[in-house]
């Protein structure tokens, strides 16, 4: 793309963002001269530049908007919301054309005559212009397209040239001169170009133009500046001082710098490690200062990646304004801490979720003025956006003083969607009920507006925030508003990671997903138990599925038997609502690592999210808890059968699984009959063909309650014992898995019901030994038939 065009696009995009803000401000303080001057200047810049670049469609729209603004600035009209809306609409059109320009490098076909006509009507409709000349000029503007070759065109061209020159730096002037030459030579070259209407020039415009052209050209002034507008001179010069202190640098360059500095830090770490092992004192002093400088350099470069969060908020005032008009509400938007900085990359990723949440607050949260007055609140609602640093995190609060989350509606919806039963809802705290809004497809908007209520909602917001290692908290009180707390890491480039070892290889696990570390030795409080070769850990009354890292990654040492000392540590990870443990041999320190993407050749391995170089210079893979969870199913599917081989002991002792199902005594089944223990999230359990089913290993598995008393859990996860019947899996729903015991079980009482083999005493309690066969036959009748 042409450099000039590219520059124009970036600059105009920025100007448009500023314009949005300023216009909304203008609406609140009508006819503020400083604001108006600013707005006029920005629109004028856009118009001038596109005239120069040969973008007629864009220019016409900008020009029409400028007409209205010039009237406003001259004090001939007062701002009305309709007027602002129309100008904003014009800006949207400009934005649309810019978007097309960016992709196609040319203006899209089409006409904006309706919009332009509206703008013109607005510009002329009000009190008739005192300046008759201007009116004539205006009408000429519209005709300019046809009357090519007329004298006015020369003037238009000169105007263009003037605008162009003030845009350019000195070095570009020569270039420009070349491109202007043909324009000046052949006056009628571009009939599309129309006249510029300036409110002041009653004096012969030619003089003004020539005069102006001579002045700005040799000054390589800041580009956003225009000597054009005399009124806001003070504001303009203030801005130029700021503009002189910042330069535009390409993101690639910064990214590159960042990588280089990361390398430097790593090398520094290596040096420090080497120095520690030496007695050589001469090295130490320079190394110390190198280390210091490196740290500061790193800090400095990190800062260049930082951007104020205000950049992500810049669209909000416009959004709120449009919404309040559309919804007939009065909303004040407060933004606190817009200067709080965070990493560019993170900023990009939270932009959309934030917009969505603000939109939600305006649409669902804030009531109409009447409702508010009736509730004894101020007429206009308030939405507050606040950002601040806390620890290595940035906290973003989105609060409104609206109606809060309607618990009754959420309850009803949860019930309707089968997310919970009435009994469960009754037991839930209001906090728990509010959490339902983070479920997929959960929208309580009574009607679908153009704003929200379309079912794409908070679940997406939550997923997106969690993707970058953040969390969302929700506090809401019905009647007095809701508050969302978003906590996100400052940067994604450097993360803290836990270094672990399995089979002699080291891996990094991002700290954000690590919940806790558990040391599980045979003699310690926590013991790893085996169910058919699948390890599980009972941690604070929760059955935690475990995965051996060496098995997951297929790095078991061939031949080498498991040393008794190995796999002592369980790293408890959290992925979404799911917790699981990873068995590793050793746990080292936590280290700050620079995440680098994995080579394309290895990108298909879901278990890794990246790799990095540690302080000692070795390359290490970074584990991705998400990917690990995804591949866990596959691994456990072909778990070694060693345990089942060992489960055939010579003595009469047998391993029994104790569980609770419905009322009465604990139940037991022989462990050897169970294929696996599973916990299914309640929402994955579906009702089909008169029974519960769950999608399991690519098929449907029927689920049978162990007895009618079993509660089907509506949130959290339901423990399920998986059996095999005639080659397929059948799940039995239970309330709670209690324990695995190895006992010499003898039934003291024969069973009185068909499904109970007998009762005996286990761990001091009467326990029923369950006959699972009738249940399994019920669940998979066909398979049983074929077996018979």
């Amino acid at each position: 793309m042409d450099d000039l065009l590219k520059e124009f696009l970036t600059e105009t995009a920025e100007n448009l963002a500023v314009l949005d803000l300023e216009l909304v401000k203008l609406e609140q303080t009508p006819n503020d001269p400083t604001l108006l001057g600013n707005i006029f200047r920005l629109v004028h810049t856009i118009k001038g530049t596109c005239g120069f670049l040969g973008l007629p469609r864009l220019e016409r729209v900008a020009h029409a908007a400028e007409d209205v603004l010039s009237k406003l600035r001259a004090g001939e009209m007062t701002t009305t919301p309709e007027m602002i809306s129309l100008i904003l609409k014009a800006l949207d059109t400009v934005r649309f054309i810019l978007g097309e320009l960016e992709t196609n490098e040319s203006e899209p076909d089409g006409e904006d005559s309706a919009l332009i006509a509206q703008l013109h009507a607005l510009a002329e409709g009000d009190a008739p212009s005192p300046d008759a000349v201007e009116a004539i000029f205006c009408s000429q503007t519209q005709e300019a397209g046809e009357c090519a070759g007329e004298a006015e065109n020369v003037e238009a061209l000169l105007e263009d040239i003037k605008n162009g020159l003030s845009q350019l730096e000195r070095a570009e002037v020569l270039n420009l001169a070349a491109s202007i030459a043909p324009l000046v030579a052949g006056v009628a070259i571009d009939p599309e170009r129309d006249l510029e209407i300036r409110p002041e020039p009653v004096a012969p415009p030619n003089l003004v133009v020539v005069h102006d052209r001579d002045k700005p050209a040799p000054v390589p002034a800041a580009k956003a500046e225009k000597s054009e507008t005399p009124a806001p001179q003070a504001a303009a010069s203030g801005e130029s001082a700021v503009a002189g202190q910042t330069i535009r640098v390409s993101v690639d360059l910064l990214e590159n710098l960042m990588t280089m500095v990361s390398e430097l830090v790593l090398t520094r770490n290596q040096l420090l490690q080497l120095a520690r092992n030496r007695k050589d004192q001469d090295f130490l002093a320079p190394l110390q200062s190198l280390s210091l400088v490196t740290s500061e350099l790193q800090e400095g470069v990190m800062k260049t990646r930082m951007q104020p969060i205000g950049n992500a908020w810049s669209k909000m005032p416009r959004l709120i304004r449009d919404l309040s008009i559309e919804l007939g509400k009065k909303i004040d938007l407060q933004m606190i801490g817009a200067e709080t900085e965070l990493d560019r990359q993170v900023l990009e990723l939270i932009k959309d979720p934030l917009t969505h949440m603000v939109r939600n607050s305006a649409d669902h949260g804030i009531e109409t003025p009447e409702e508010r007055l009736a509730a004894g609140k101020t007429e206009s609602g308030r939405i507050r956006l606040e950002a601040y640093h806390e620890g290595g995190h940035i906290i973003i609060e989105i609060a409104d003083d609206g109606r809060g989350l309607p618990l009754d509606k959420i309850r009803a919806k949860a019930l309707k969607n089968g997310l919970a039963t009435e009994a469960q809802l009754a037991e839930m705290s209001s906090q728990q009920i509010q959490q339902f809004i983070f479920r997929a497809g959960f929208s309580t908007a009574a009607s679908v507006t153009s704003v929200s209520g379309r079912g794409v909602g908070m679940d997406v917001v939550r997923t997106n925030i969690e993707k970058i290692g953040g969390t969302v908290e929700l506090r809401s009180k019905e009647g007095s508003g809701s508050r969302f707390l978003i906590k996100i890491p400052l940067t994604l480039a450097i993360v803290s990671a836990l270094i672990v070892e399995a089979s002699g290889e080291r891996f990094a696990i991002p700290q954000v997903s690590v919940l806790e570390l558990v040391r599980a030795r045979g003699d310690s409080e926590h013991r790893i138990e085996q169910i058919q070769g699948t390890p599980v850990l009972r941690l604070r009354n929760q059955l935690l599925p475990l995965v051996r890292l060496r098995q997951l990654l297929e790095i078991e040492r061939s031949g080498a038997e498991e040393q008794p000392g190995g796999e002592d540590y369980v790293v408890v990870l959290q992925v979404g609502a799911m917790n699981f443990g990873v068995l590793v041999d050793r746990v080292f320190d936590a280290e700050e690592i620079v995440v680098k993407p994995v080579a394309p050749l290895l990108r298909h391995i879901t278990a890794f999210s990246g790799n990095t170089i540690l302080g000692d210079g070795s390359v290490i893979m970074i584990l991705d808890p998400n990917g690990m969870l995804a591949s866990m199913g596959e691994v456990t599917a072909h778990a070694p059968e060693e345990a089942s081989a060992a489960a055939g002991p010579a003595d009469s002792r047998q391993a029994l699984l104790l569980f609770r199902a419905g009322e009465g005594a604990p139940k037991a089944v022989p462990l050897s009959t169970i294929q696996r223990l599973e916990h299914f999230p309640a929402r994955t359990i579906e009702w089909s063909d008169g029974r519960f089913v769950v999608q399991y290993r690519g098929g449907l598995m029927p689920l049978m309650p162990a007895n009618p008393g079993v509660q089907r859990i509506e949130s959290g996860s339901q423990p399920v014992l998986v059996f095999e019947a005639g080659g397929r899996s059948v799940g039995i729903l239970v309330d709670e898995i209690i324990d695995i015991v190895e006992v010499d079980f003898a039934a003291d009482l024969a069973g009185s019901q068909p499904e109970i083999l007998g009762s005996g005493v286990i761990a001091g309690k009467a326990t029923e030994l369950l006959d699972t066969r009738p249940l399994l036959a019920l669940a998979a009748p066909s398979t049983l038939l074929s077996a018979a």
């Binding site: 790593l266 394309p600 290895l602 298909h604 391995i605 990095t612 290490i620």
Partner: protein, 161 residues
């Protein structure tokens, strides 16, 4: 490869040896030649990928040329690495040994005879006849692209299974 030729029409090649065959790699494609390196194994990677290594702060994927071409893994682990760039990524081609840099006339490059074993023909850009031996010019891009393909095939197979 026009930038590879010198004014006199000569192209420089680095010769390496893999499974008893001498191969030539255009010198301009070579970033570096490294001695035996500490390589971090990458679990679940295709067998021909030995792992990753740290070359002055860059993570380089180490590819075993023997395994890529379907030969048995080398007995010794002390082998040489030729670092090349492919699609903006660095790869270290692990070879049995590195020979010398030869200047050969571009005009003498002969097309690969069809009688050459398919393994070699696949990754050959042509052949030089030097007084001592036949030198196969290695098409690095094809070698690495082939590896990615093998890998993709393996993945789809695994998924289908």
């Amino acid at each position: 490869m026009s930038n590879n030729s010198r004014p006199d029409g000569a192209v420089q090649y680095l010769t390496v040896s893999v499974a008893g065959q001498t191969l030539g790699i255009p010198v301009l494609q070579v970033d570096d030649v490294l001695g035996p390196q500490r390589i971090t194994r990458v679990p679940l990677a295709p067998p021909a990928v030995l792992g990753s290594l740290n070359m002055r702060g860059h993570i380089v994927t180490a590819v075993d040329v023997r395994r890529t071409l379907g030969f048995a893994a080398a007995e010794t682990s002390a082998r040489m690495c030729v670092v090349v760039e492919h699609k903006n990524e660095l790869y270290s081609l692990t070879v049995d040994s590195v020979g010398e840099v030869m200047s050969l006339s571009a005009g003498e490059l002969a097309p690969t005879p069809i009688t050459v074993a398919p393994v070699w023909r696949e990754v050959s850009k042509g052949i030089y006849r030097t007084p001592e031996q036949l030198l196969i010019i290695l098409d690095v891009d094809r070698l690495l692209a082939g590896l990615a393909q093998q890998d993709k095939a393996a993945t789809t197979q695994a998924l289908a299974a």
